[in-house]
């Protein structure tokens, strides 16, 4: 398959991913109760694969919702302010909310989303991310559940894309430099 040929190395295998996602599921099962009825908020598109696997491990009553965001383009990178293309259906006031992300990089987008949702007065607001690149962090954000800390490499697969491709690889791979060079 052509997509796999573009991958320099497998950083996290499918088996390792699945085992860790199951562990995070257990951590969430220990954190929330049926009565909490947490609302999992996934940020599209990257998080949909992680969300699909993670939620199948959950044993407490919960709901799933989606947000889609888009950056405003030039000039707003430093503020992290994004345009909300799809907002939550529900009012989250008084709810336990868990943001589900594929990756936390600079942390700016997450920081903005967290601030935005916090203004809606949830009872609790936590963050769960599959990957974190701590070396890229520019703002302090609290991440409650982390799947893997990864080095600052161009990672794809399991929801993460490059130019909309490679999202469907069942593992996390590092993209060959020649693929993204010049972009």
């Amino acid at each position: 398959m052509r997509l796999r040929d573009d991958v320099a190395k497998v950083l996290i295998s499918e088996e390792t991913l699945q085992a860790r996602v199951a562990e995070i599921g257990r951590e969430l099962n220990a954190t929330y109760t049926d009565e909490d009825r947490p609302l999992l908020v996934a940020v599209l598109k990257g998080a949909f694969v992680f969300l699909a696997d993670l939620t199948r491990h959950l044993e407490m009553r919960h709901e799933v919702n989606f947000m889609e965001i888009s950056s405003y383009g030039t000039g707003t990178k430093s503020s992290g302010v994004v345009r909300i293309l799809l907002d939550l259906e529900q009012n989250i006031e008084g709810r336990h909310v868990l943001i589900v992300e594929d990756i936390v990089d600079s942390g700016r987008t997450l920081e903005y989303i967290t601030r935005n949702l916090q203004t809606r007065r949830p009872t609790s607001l936590r963050v769960c991310t599959l990957l974190s690149k701590p070396s890229r962090r520019e703002v302090g954000v609290t991440v409650d559940f982390v799947g893997f800390e990864v080095p600052d490499e161009f990672v794809v697969g399991y929801g993460l894309d490059f130019a909309e491709e490679y999202r469907n690889l069942p593992f996390i791979g590092v993209l060959k430099e020649k693929v993204y060079a010049g972009q």
């Binding site: 398959m1 997509l3 996934a42 694969v49 699909a52 939620t55 889609e68 909309e164 491709e165 469907n168």
Partner: protein
């Protein structure tokens, strides 16, 4: 995987293994059919299709993009009237591309019929549908399904993306809801 069967579930209709095998078969078929088209876009209908999409895409061997749309019916309730509101459109333009609409369930057919008309008007290179579950007894309008997972009787099913008032959506299997839950 969460194998707990809640009290609200009367029985398991399609277990994880059965679903996984069928999803893989669909992916093989799709990968064969689209092997020569380099412009395939899977369009997932939120929220129900996200689990099916995550599993289906990972089994595909042809390059493709993934996009999501979100719909809302104009009147609340369990009976579809056909008119739906597109609350989030695709991120990318679909004109001239090969579109595959990915749906969790085909019931009356109104929604899928509406989506087909909507996307056909945008002049895609081709337009097909992939549906995990079909309830032929419920059909009000005929819609073509190119890739079908399972035909099931007219029972209220939940799990693998399908919900009852946002509950039971992430069960890893498809189960039949007890009648007393919705009567």
């Amino acid at each position: 995987m969460n194998t707990i069967i809640p009290n609200a579930i009367e029985r398991v209709l399609l277990d994880e293994e059965t679903i996984a095998v069928r999803v893989h078969e669909l992916a093989v078929q799709i990968s064969t059919d689209y092997v020569k088209s380099d412009n395939l876009v899977l369009i997932g209908v939120l929220k129900g299709a996200f689990i099916f999409m995550a599993d289906l895409a990972r089994c595909l061997t042809v390059p493709h993009h993934v996009d999501f749309i979100a719909l809302s019916s104009y009147n609340r309730g369990t009976v579809s009237t056909g008119a739906v509101r597109l609350i989030m459109d695709t991120r990318a333009s679909v004109t001239g591309r090969h579109l595959l609409i990915v749906e969790d369930i085909l019931d009356t057919g109104y929604t899928l019929d509406y989506l087909l008309r909507t996307f056909r008007a945008r002049n895609p290179a081709s337009l097909r549908t992939c549906v995990l579950i079909s309830k032929p007894d419920r059909r009000q309008v005929e819609v073509p399904v190119d890739y079908l997972g399972f035909e099931i009787p007219n029972e209220w099913v939940v799990g693998y993306g399908l919900d009852y008032s946002d509950r039971f959506r992430t069960l890893p299997y498809i189960g039949v809801l007890k009648r007393e839950m919705y009567k």
